[in-house]
Symmetry: C2
Subunit: 219 residues, 2 copies
Amino acid sequence: MIELAILGLLREQDLHGYELKKRIQELHGSRLTVSFGSLYPALARLEAAGAVKTVEARSVARPGTIPATGSLSGEANAFFARRRALADRDRDRVTAGRGRKVYGITDEGHQYLDELLDDPTTDDKTFPLKVAFCRYLPAERRLELFERRRSQLAGVLAGERTNRRRVGDRIDQYLRSLREHDTESIQHDITWLDRLIDEERQSLATINRDGQGQEDHPS
Amino acid sequence: MIELAILGLLREQDLHGYELKKRIQELHGSRLTVSFGSLYPALARLEAAGAVKTVEARSVARPGTIPATGSLSGEANAFFARRRALADRDRDRVTAGRGRKVYGITDEGHQYLDELLDDPTTDDKTFPLKVAFCRYLPAERRLELFERRRSQLAGVLAGERTNRRRVGDRIDQYLRSLREHDTESIQHDITWLDRLIDEERQSLATINRDGQGQEDHPS
DNA sequence: GTCATCATGTAAGCCGTTACATGATTGC
DNA sequence: GCAATCATGTAACGGCTTACATGATGAC
């Protein structure tokens, strides 16, 4: 779900395609790689659908300007962004040919992102991506997301146990080792999810106790 | 690589498509699912290429007969197989229409499987499948397979460390948790591989010391 | 006699890739 | 001025899925 990745990243910050690609890899440690051949058409699709729009027309590329990489706090970041914007205006020449196309998310895009996050599928590919952007979900739905994935993995584990009984022995050592490792990996995932769920429940309880219901939903 | 799965399974035992599908799921605990829409064309492709052949013409389906599921030792298994084969001959009627098509691997198929296992790609999808059938590799190449995967994962881990430095903070708690969990998962994989590599080296050393070089290569 | 399961196949389509083509900018 | 990297795009193709179509067999 490349669109989820794009919208999730754009929701935080305007970005151009090339930078988006890098950020997508960063999200999920190179397990999630997208090629330009799928990224650019996806951006075009999203633009046609009105979910994103070109924020800054083709302009001269100057690396480091748009991405605003770095660990600045909100205020400082905004300050430097303003300074850069001014500097940019002075130096921008629309040279003929290609330049950056910086995309931003629209209101429809926000809505679409919401839908994508709300979609109940939580497979191995989609779930990590949803976690990466689950901060944009209200706490209740985030909790549901974690619990849905947990029950799914628990199901797989149960299936493997009955499976092991069916297949029984007559299995070679490497296959056995692979299966054991699989089971351990899934258990590791479940343990992680349990921690996430627990933390989420605690924070929910705190919010309810203190009566600040909306605080977690910066939509 | 559905062909690897098919050939790997057929190398142990003749099977028909429907049963193959179930066995493929079993291999890698439902992470690897194939649909009939890809399985049957793949079988047709492999048959056209001469890698597999139809062992038993379309006959009446009688579950449990061909698959020979169960945990029987080699001799007992062979005995019952012979008994079943006799019974089958008596009862086989080629009813018009569809029945099972049981496939077996050919000499070319063995060769192709060898090539597939030898191919150096060890991505998340392919590697587990190769481990599932690595018993068909000579010990040296099996060791190489494990080491190749290990170094690949080590690379990912190194990349993530530098990555973490670049991105720095300004990362939300869920994304941080996701990344930490990713790192742990990869480390878990590496630990597993280290165990496999160690065992492989020990067994190789034993073989070399006892001078039975060929014993591990039932090709 | 009918329903679930077993069993094989085809067709349309989705989602992604690789390979190709183009050009701008930066550092040396 | 030349190479590496940044940057955007297109076209062909690959592999797999879903949905559809068909039919046999066994259990009740």
